[in-house]
Symmetry: D2
Subunit: 137 residues, 4 copies
């Protein structure tokens, strides 16, 4: 694992399961989001302060996930998060969710940057680039 | 049913179920909330406009619910909503959720009124009292 | 719209919003799921009965979505659903979520078919192919 | 804090917030549920194994909560959980959710015990009584 990857542990709740006896596909978005927030915190960007201080937000604009094996109630999962790419307008977070050595989910989530409260698209700020290890030259 | 009661139909989603094969207890709060919003709309108060125009919000400050029978995936439920009481500071919504003639849930949800964005408690405004049929003399 | 497309209307709840003042990206999965269940019902397959009678389930194995514009509290959205492709092992549902003429979300969700309760992958059954208009020759 | 109380820490996610900028009232049920599962684990009852081994489940049958102050995105909250009472048919979990010294929520959740999968009510088993410190004489 490169130093730019972070690991975050989560516990599956009963509320995350569905009547098939496994975790519902929508529940994973909560854990991917926690993974991104912890990735940013670990690399010096407190996302709560970022929104308050810079009047910006990073909404999800695209997701692409593959569910490879089901998770179940009470399991401890590990969310691994990294940033393979930052463009002028978007940042891409890749994630793997594992239970021990088993890979349960892989995927990418793209975020844009918008000025708040109006929601107008803006360039990805230097603070985000830096936290993600993609400073502009 | 008194004219001040409203009925709102909801469909149980797969996402609402848990591994016990029934609806998770937290899912009902979504439907109670829809019931309150539709109650207010039916009685002349558009809650979205209320927040925007009056810079107020009605957060939940107390809930008391009894789960009497389980709901299941794909069932059509009816949320009956009424307002038994409005005090200076609080409005109480009572609800029954039924599937056909079976009562699945009964309970009360109390809302306060707060000035936004700071969240300071204020008196329940006349617009809410009127919609709920509890105008002050 | 081809006859094989279905439309399903949903109302955005307060619970679906986040502190950015728009619908959280995970909330859309509920509506896409409702869209798929209604698509199948409209084409003769009651998904609840399908699980009970055939001891099969259709878990989500892949999602690919683009969020094009934000939805907001209390808006009425329309979920359009169709099935562009059924392979031996997977069925792909495509969806567009619109508010009036505005496209808010487009994407694809792939489902596999598994034998319950053990979760072993099986071929997509004829009942699903038929409902989706992709009978085998 | 008596030895029979447990503390469980949770982090507020973005998904837990709503457009009022605070945690939505339904989000707390996830954390109360985690608090109960961890209480039971700490006192020797693995709830996942309990369901599998005893073919029983503990559904929520009543909730009574007071929301005393709002929680916000990214805050670390502590869920304190204890069991003031076990009757023949019900177990009552009380909880306080705090942020530092501030009390945000107090309340009670009652669980019944049902035989699975049919859902028939049964007496609270000795394994649950023992974990909760309410063995019968």
């Amino acid at each position: 694992m490169s130093p730019r990857r972070t690991l975050h542990e989560v516990r599956v709740g009963y509320v995350d399961t569905d009547q098939a006896g496994v975790v519902h596909h929508a529940s994973y978005f909560r854990w991917l989001e926690h993974g991104r927030v912890e990735y940013l915190r670990h690399h010096g960007l407190d996302y709560r302060r970022f929104e308050l201080d810079e009047h910006l937000a990073l909404p999800v604009i695209e997701v692409s996930l593959r569910y490879r094996a089901p998770a179940r109630f009470d399991e401890l999962l590990v969310v691994e998060t990294w940033v393979p790419e930052v463009t002028r307008a978007k940042v891409r977070f890749d994630s793997v969710i594992r239970r021990g050595v088993d890979t349960l989910l892989t995927g990418s989530v793209w975020l844009a940057c918008v000025a708040m409260p109006e929601g107008r698209l803006v360039s990805m700020p230097e603070s985000v680039r830096r936290a993600c290890g993609h400073e502009e030259a």
